[in-house]
């Protein structure tokens, strides 16, 4: 029997597979296709202090082995979440982590305080990396100083697991990772989407209403893997790897590169039942390679 449990700096996961924010709704959208209790956790749709309508349609463009999105954090606000959605999802037999975003440091702090009142939410993922909002979002995640400030402010009020989601749209992601580690982040998750764009040449118009958007899907995997490897070598806190993971083999690459857990994102759109299959595939790999526990895979890449 392979031990699948992961201790993510205090956050207990039954296996290393989480689902990525913005690709998994609130989990409810997926219960027709899979059993949520078979994965380590779900990171629910990004939440902000106030209701956001998001960006105008069109918000997506299919690209080779991937897609661009410009949803822009559409959500009904954290109070709606805590009053209406939380009661429906709190008893899921898995970790429910809430992704928190904001335009100002005060927004992040206030949202985190409201989430802290929800006893069955074991952690938040602080989104300092959304490329699709005009204010805040990625601007916090592209500067060490700003990233440190927002993490420090949230850390003061938020006592449970604080995961910080990093953007790849920076010169050196390890500097940002170190900055948030120094302010008390419990883990970092990476990567959020890569800033990209698409043009409809026949119409001579951008495909997205916002012109640019975030690229995700299988096409980003090599970049994400490289950044996870670099970051895992730069920080002591656990790294949660994501970016194009579409199979157990992909997930195992991220673990070997140094991730302690992984998130499945855009692949949920193609196969809504994929995340438990990835968890099973990781166990099968461990059996085949003689690993007693999944946690042994973290950083087990052989170099030289």
């Amino acid at each position: 029997m392979v031990n699948q449990k992961i201790n993510l700096n205090g956050l207990e996961l039954k296996n290393p597979v989480l689902t990525a924010s913005g690709t998994f709704g609130f989990g409810e959208e997926f219960t027709d296709y899979m059993d949520l209790s078979r994965i380590g956790g779900i990171v629910v749709k990004g939440t902000t202090i106030r209701h956001r309508e998001g960006n105008p349609y069109p918000r997506m463009a299919e690209t080779p082995s991937g897609m661009l999105n410009a949803v822009g954090l559409q959500n009904k606000g954290v109070r709606y979440f805590s009053e209406n959605i939380y009661p429906r999802i709190k008893d899921y037999d898995t970790n429910v982590i809430v992704n928190v975003s904001g335009s100002t440091i005060e927004d992040y702090v206030e949202t985190a305080e409201i989430i802290q009142e929800l006893s069955q939410i074991p952690g938040i993922e602080l989104n300092i990396s959304c490329p699709n909002v005009k204010q805040g979002g990625m601007t916090f995640g592209t500067s060490c100083v700003e990233a440190a400030k927002v993490v420090a402010a949230v850390r003061k009020v938020y006592k449970r697991h604080l995961m910080v989601k990093l953007t790849p749209n920076v010169t050196d992601i390890t500097e940002i990772a170190r900055a948030v580690e120094a302010e008390g982040a419990d883990s970092v998750s990476l990567i959020n989407t890569l800033l990209g764009m698409a043009i409809d040449a026949e119409k001579r118009r951008p495909v997205l209403s916002t012109i640019t958007g975030g690229l995700s899907g299988a096409c980003v995997k090599p970049i994400a893997l490289r950044m996870v490897w670099q970051t895992a070598n730069a920080v002591k806190i656990p790294v949660v790897g994501l970016g194009g993971i579409s199979s157990a083999a992909d997930a195992i690459e991220f673990l070997l590169a140094g991730a302690s857990a992984i998130q499945v994102g855009t692949a949920n759109f193609i196969d809504p039942a994929i995340s438990p299959k990835i968890a099973e595939g990781i166990v099968e790999y461990c059996e085949r390679h003689g690993f007693q526990s999944v946690s042994e895979l973290t950083g087990a890449m052989i170099v030289g």
Binding site: F30, E53, R59, M60, E62, S65, M67, A218, F269
Partner: protein
Amino acid sequence: MQKATSFILDLELTEIKSLNAQYVLMKFRDENPLPPMQPGQFAEVRVDGSPNTYLRRPVSINFVDIERNEVWMLIQIVGDGTKTLAKAQVGDKINMILPLGKSFTLPQPNEKVLLIGGGVGVAPLLMLGQQLQELNIPVSFLLGARSAGDLLELDEFSKYGTVYTTTEDGSAGEKGYVTQHSLLNTAAFNRIYTCGPKPMMLSVASYARKHAIECEVSLENMMACGIGACLCCVEDTTEGNLCVCKEGPVFNTNVLKW
């Protein structure tokens, strides 16, 4: 946990019929009884084989043949995805998630209903027509296309109601657009169901509003997930941005900002 209503299935292609250079009719079956499906719902179809068909393709449910345990889909060949799909061979298994989305609302008894379709948008109206006929509601279909060869499944539609047609070049039915058909000047309807190109639906919606007729449209916004998770396919409505895949694809025009 609630009972599942939609499923990921590998359905077997039992028949593929080329209707003209642009359209194919595909019929699929399963070993097990197909899940209940309602007119207006759709499937998210996986098209394997190319980096350019990364996401699933939303396809309307055209008809369900309960006796044969078959679901029909009408495909317009427009891009890489539908081109690949149309090359499938009888016996191939195609992966799809179905049924998805909300269906058309059924009329009150005694209501006079008109089903207006254009191009590949006629697809969901066949199943709707069949269901209305089962409820003993007389059905009129008003179907439009560029020319005679683009009018699809007329033999099928005529099983469930009276079929009126328009073509842009006048090669069949009345010449012009559906909204110019003389039927709209002579008959009074209580409810219109429509699906087709957006300019056509806008024009139908405006006719319906002018004559205070209840009108439901089926939208085809670009989608990624099809199950309400990604929030990409939203339509701006009186209730804010709503997912076409989950809150639609059928909407009453009263909630749309058309």
